[in-house]
Amino acid sequence: MQIRVIPGSSAAIYRQIADQIRRLVAAGELAIGDPLPSVRALAKELVINPNTVAKAYAELVRDGVLETQAGRGAFVAKRRNVYSKAERLRRLDEAIESAISVSLTLDFTSEEILERMRTKLEKLDL
């Protein structure tokens, strides 16, 4: 597991850590039950205040991405659906909006974009 933090960016350091762990879990690079480094070890590796790592882990536990076992540290939790309905909708809108704005700058019509999207979804056979 490789996590990097960049001070001076628009996302707070705890947010950068939480987002990267979410991505690693979503991409399957971290599997259910995998242990995470201890707060102290990760803070040491990244040269940051341990409270920052603790804050990121706490948020991930609250959202169901991680679970803690007393005395053993944090692990990737079983449940995959880690967002609330509202949060899922927000993220979906964000993804669609950016796809739409890129598509429109490429001079496609609404019909073309929708058609293309439908084809892609059908291919996935969900």
Binding site: V5, P7, G8, A12, I13, K44, V47, N49, T52, K55
Partner: protein, 313 residues
């Protein structure tokens, strides 16, 4: 005073001649925290630190360190406070291992292993003479000597001044290792915002002798917001933006290319209304980095001369 605070000040004020260098400063350093102290040169950081260490009398107000008024610090209490001075003074004729022995003989709680680990981080050979060392390495020996004495409270006045990237990283690692137990506290004055963002959990900010920010680092980030406006179609207005409704809790307004960036604290409906009243072609929220938020405050004192708010007719 709460037992959990290792530093506490009450309306701490210091004049030099007729000039107030530190004005009515109230703040505390909770035990176990790393507090960043930010501000431009001359903002009053070093004067505040010198009063905390009992090296300078407050003109008014008071400060307590480890529960004792700074004017009455005993040698025993002083031995529990570690501090480094700007420039990191060391005896040039000593070898690094003699600095270690010197520290061992003058400190009752000396941790030799910590000293060794720290100088190694800075890439220092313990047989080297202090006069042979680079600036960063001298800082390393000074930091190692201060931290190995295992003080309860560490006060660092711009320790990263002039350090190379390797020494900066070594400094951050050393501060974090020193605080690992959660019982020790640090007041860290610095100009390096990236380093403060990494190691500190609280941030204080001084402007012209006043402490204008004192809160958790994430809270500070969250409460500061910014927008850009486009007023390039308007005739110039005293070098600033025409704001028909004064913007509440405005921190700073500065030019950003063709646009202006407006930074405020705790935005609410009044902020939106004031922004909407500006004759701007487009008004867009911008993401605020820790640097942006600090810089907006640091340039604040200059804003009064360049920023004009128009009264509502």
């Amino acid at each position: 005073m709460s037992d959990t605070d290792v530093i506490r000040t009450q309306r701490l004020t210091r004049y030099f001649g007729g000039k107030a260098v530190v004005r009515e400063v109230d703040f505390a350093v909770p035990r176990g925290s790393i507090v960043g102290l930010l501000g431009l040169n001359g903002a009053g950081k070093t004067t505040t630190i010198r009063m905390l260490l009992g090296l300078l009398e407050p003109t008014r107000g008071s400060c307590q360190v480890l529960g004792t008024d700074s004017r009455e610090l005993t040698p025993e209490i002083r031995s529990r406070i570690g501090h480094t001075v700007e420039g990191h003074f060391l005896y040039p004729w000593m070898r690094v291992r003699e600095c270690e022995r010197f520290g061992r003989e003058t400190n009752s709680h000396w941790d030799g292993a910590f000293f060794e680990r720290t100088v190694r981080r800075f890439g220092i050979d313990s047989a080297a003479k202090v006069s042979w060392l680079s600036r960063g390495q001298r800082a390393g020996v000074s930091i190692a000597s201060t931290l190995a004495g295992q003080p309860e409270l560490l006060i660092l006045d711009d320790p990263a001044l002039g350090l190379d990237p390797v020494s900066r990283r070594a400094l951050n690692e050393s501060i974090l290792e020193f605080c690992e137990s959660g019982e020790r506290s640090v007041l860290l004055s610095s100009h390096l915002l990236d380093d403060v963002e990494r190691v500190a959990d609280r941030v204080t900010l001084m402007v012209d002798g006043l402490m204008v920010v004192n809160t958790g680092l994430d809270d500070f980030r969250q409460r500061v917001a910014a927008w850009t406006v486009d007023v390039s179609h308007q005739p110039p207005f005293g070098g600033s933006v025409r704001t028909p409704v004064p913007i509440p809790r405005l921190v700073n307004c500065r030019p950003l290319g063709d646009r202006w960036q407006i930074t405020v604290v705790d935005p609410d409906e009044d902020t939106s209304a004031a922004l909407a009243a500006i004759d701007s072609r487009s008004t867009e929220p911008v993401e605020v980095t820790f640097d942006d938020a600090v810089l907006a405050y640091l340039s604040r004192s200059r804003v009064y001369y360049s920023f004009f708010a128009e009264r509502t007719p």
